[in-house]
Amino acid sequence: MTTSAGHSEARSAGPHTLGKVRPHPSQNEALLFEKSSPGKRAYKLPPLDVPTVDAAKLLGAARRDTPGLLPELSEIEIIRHFTRLSTWNYAIDLGMYPLGSCTMKYNPRVNELVARIEGLAEAHPYRPESLAQGILEIFDLLQRCLLDITGMEAITLQPAAGAHGEFTGILLTRAWHESQGNPRKKILIPDSAHGTNPATAAIVGYSVENLKSNGDGGIDLEALARQVDGETAALMLTNPSTLGVFESQIHKIADILHAKGALLYMDGANMNALVGKVRPGDFGVDVMHLNLHKTFSTPHGGGGPGSGPVACKSFLEPFLPIPVLVRDQNGPKDCPDAGDWEDTNAEPTVDGCPPLFRAPILKPHGERVGDTELLPLHPFGGPLRWEYDRPQSVGRVRAFYGNTGMFIRALAYILANGPDGLRQTTEDAVLNANYIRKKLEDVYELPYKTASMHEVVFSDKRQAALGVKTGDIAKRLIDYGFHPYTVSFPLIVHGALMIEPTESESREELDLFIAAMRSIAREVEENPEIVKTAPHSTRVSRLDEVQAARKPILRWRPATE
């Protein structure tokens, strides 16, 4: 640990930083529009190799006569503009980002490189399937990996984000109930759930019934048994819960639902606690979504893009959004390499072939090209294609097939880890959260003593008694060089501090975070004002959100003459 108690005297207004940060100039930068001057250019088009056209003649009244007020700048100014803006952001690349529920883990750079490979990045979604087999093989391998990770039986990659995955999963639920004769009326949602869950249920036409947590913050089995009835379509459960607690009664929860014909939906936001250790499909989940931008390391990018694949049991498969990826079964039936895979402990495929990813690479007619390649692009069977003729499908949830760029990144992450790396990742994530819990539980109130998985939730009870709230402590963390934890969520904990370190933090970074949190707890007792007025080290201090909402200024406008 590089910190020292000798540095603990705070500067009168500024922070003491325990050695993690020190101020340096950040440059001012106006809006693009304010920097613009007519005649500057950052582009040059090639000479037009076809005859020029008279736009006025071709378009007539549909021609634009007043251009939009876009800025006019040179390339260096644009580079400096966005580079300066970037320095005003905190990021995973700068340090620990312990936002509970958001899984801010390292975003590997090889993912960015492979997502930009020309044949993948430039592929048009309507190109003939025969020219898209490379990308479809990526879809297929990712689907297989995610199915094994979740223990589910069918999957769609189409949803664009977690909430979109919830929407898709509840659509499947509804379609299945309709096929059973009654769509049912309500969805049960625990009071600890993400806001997207009730918002999703409403969009799919269900009423939301709140399920109160028990004394441990988990599902109250008696309340559940009371509330589940013939009109309950599903329970939307986050497991581990937003408290970071695994529902150890999960099998009973599933049984209660299934006995009444209701389904168990799992919000996979917290899958980073489970990968390689336990599979939702094994503990009774019927349908779930994953967040590739959480568990599978695709970047959050300041708010998106995400990707929210939905995995389900086979009875929901007929309802998946169209199109569904299928492999033509006209490939080689008898695998010439059956028996070459004894070094693995995996099950053979139905044709007696070795599993796809262990197999030597084969040409379509079965010729063995080599055996050093462990990720063949030519597996057994025929080419992949999109199937649209699925009469029971819930329909499309978006145009095309999903956020392909995120699939490439997520698969690159899975390949970089392998089975041992994925399991170690989960173990480290849980280890880190428990380490923080152990090192902070004497200074921050732990409202639920239940065992923590990948995140730990404290409350501000002790600090609030001195007039300092969770939001203040969070802002003060900024001065110490950390992004705040998730503030005031889950709602069942008054004044929550929700901390998810992920596996990406070294012991040194964790120790610095712990030291910062302990130092802030001391400040709350000795000098609460410094916490209540934090942050002190940022370009801007706390911003006036009331004014922003009362008189919204949502765009720049030129000064009136």
Binding site: V114, P128, T196, D282, T404, E545, R555
Partner: protein, 449 residues
């Protein structure tokens, strides 16, 4: 494990300090019968070099050296190099949604600039911070119109992208939102205005059209707006080809514009991630879905930006929110912002003119032989057109593929009445030579000149 910053010794020490005997103690809350006692069936750990090789091979299998005339909602434009240079800065790439405004001013100011540019280009007053894509944006815009008007029906043009219409159908199904469709004039390919006037009633919340429409034809927005507004319905204009706004009059008569901004510097990437966005007239701002960045001041009077009007959103309003959207397409919106900064006020017009010229040349050249003609005429187009051929598309497209050209997409999969019709697109990246070769192959003439 190269992504994990711990030695085994450190793990052991940490477990000791926690008071756990082994890592399994920390997973004790998982019932034993559910614990996975085997390795996951995923490929073994790969070296970085192997990962790059695998994806390179996949990319090569996708065949990169084809000329393409595909459009239909996904457009190939040149992407300035600085886009990827800037969005790969870790401070943008690895930052979260800017809820902590003091340390996310970079993202927030960029969103504010994006909102401004989209509002400027579309002729609307405000725009949000992005939606998943053009299709979900259009569906959310219709739901927004239902909230604004208190009415429950939608009238949709069949010239809206077929997959957008399918997405709308999925969203509308459980919202008690009946949708009726209005066809197109068989001569011009524009919305049939008489049928539209007949379909819009006092129950209609919104009329949804697309312009340029799915056939590449620019709709008569003022006339359509008049029909919608006469019955008190809102007009929603979906724009799938954003570059058109450089030269095509913006839909200022619309109440809501639902746009796909992929054309602004976003790679095709086999259909995603793209960048939807909803823009609207000022008075509807509180019914907008998604995030909004707003300008404000800090305690010292410095200008700053925050996410605002959050009381519309799911994390505050839960089941009463305007949408369930949370994660959006922020980094892709940043790409669009940089693209628009590069081209700027003059460049976007010049770029759009190049597209107009290429498509005009392509349409003339491809119809120069007697076996093919333009399907629609009499209304302005941007950079797409419908070609009708005597020969079946399956036959000539095989010949084109042999010459490394991907021709237009067959329309009969969505419009059975458009027999032997294909939708072609020529953006600025298509070369004259490629158009000439395509024309010769189409006419079954020898390619060697």
């Amino acid at each position: 494990m190269r992504y994990l910053p711990k030695s085994d010794e450190e793990r052991r020490q940490m477990l000791t300090e926690i008071g756990a005997k082994s890592i399994d103690d920390l997973f004790a809350s998982i019932p034993a019968e559910y614990r996975l006692e085997r390795d996951l069936t995923v490929p073994r750990q790969q070296a970085e070099s192997e990962i790059v090789e695998y994806f390179r091979a996949a990319g090569q299998k996708n065949a990169t050296d084809y000329a393409s005339f595909l459009g239909a909602g996904a457009y190939r434009h040149y992407r300035p190099v600085i886009i990827d240079a800037l969005v790969q800065r870790g401070e943008f790439l690895t930052s979260y949604t800017p809820y902590q405004a003091e340390i996310t001013q970079g993202t927030l100011q960029a969103i504010f600039e994006f909102q401004t540019m989209i509002a400027e280009l579309t002729g609307m007053d405000v725009a949000n911070a992005s939606m998943y894509d053009g299709s979900t944006g259009a569906a959310e815009a219709v739901m927004m119109a239902v909230r604004v008007t208190g009415r429950s029906k939608a009238v949709v043009a069949t010239t809206v992208h077929p997959e957008y219409r399918e997405v709308l159908a999925t969203y509308a199904k459980h919202q008690g939102l009946p949708t009726s469709f209005v066809g197109y004039d068989p001569e011009t390919g524009r919305v049939d205005l008489k049928a539209l006037a007949a379909a819009v009633s006092e129950d209609t919340a919104a009329v949804l059209i697309q312009s340029p429409n799915f056939f590449g034809i620019i709709e008569d927005i003022p006339a359509i707006a008049e029909i919608a507004h006469a019955k008190g319905a809102l007009l929603i204009v979906s724009i799938a080809e954003a570059v058109s706004l450089g030269i095509v009059r913006p839909p200022v008569e619309a109440d809501i514009v639902a746009m796909e901004a992929q054309s602004f510097g976003v790679a095709l990437s086999y259909g995603g991630p793209f960048c939807g966005v909803i823009a609207a007239k000022e008075q509807f701002v509180r019914q907008l879905p998604g995030r909004l960045a707003g300008q404000t001041v800090d305690g010292a009077g410095n200008r700053g930006f925050v996410l605002t009007l959050a009381t519309r959103e799911q994390h505050i309003r839960r089941e009463k929110a305007t949408s369930n959207i949370c994660t959006n397409q922020a980094l892709v919106a940043l790409m669009a912002t940089i693209f628009l900064a590069v081209y700027g006020k003059e460049g976007i017009r010049e770029l759009a003119e190049h597209n107009l010229a290429k498509a005009d040349y392509a349409a003339k050249t491809l119809t120069a032989h007697s076996g093919s003609k333009l399907r629609f005429s009499g209304a302005p187009r941007f950079h797409e057109f419908v070609l009708q051929t005597d020969e079946m598309p399956a036959a000539w497209s095989r010949r084109l593929l042999e010459n490394k050209i991907v021709g237009g997409i067959e329309l009969s999969r969505w419009y059975p009445e458009l027999h032997n019709c294909t939708l072609w697109c020529a953006t600025e990246v298509v070369k004259r030579e490629q158009i000439d070769i395509a024309a010769r192959v189409l006419a079954a003439q020898p390619v060697e000149a």
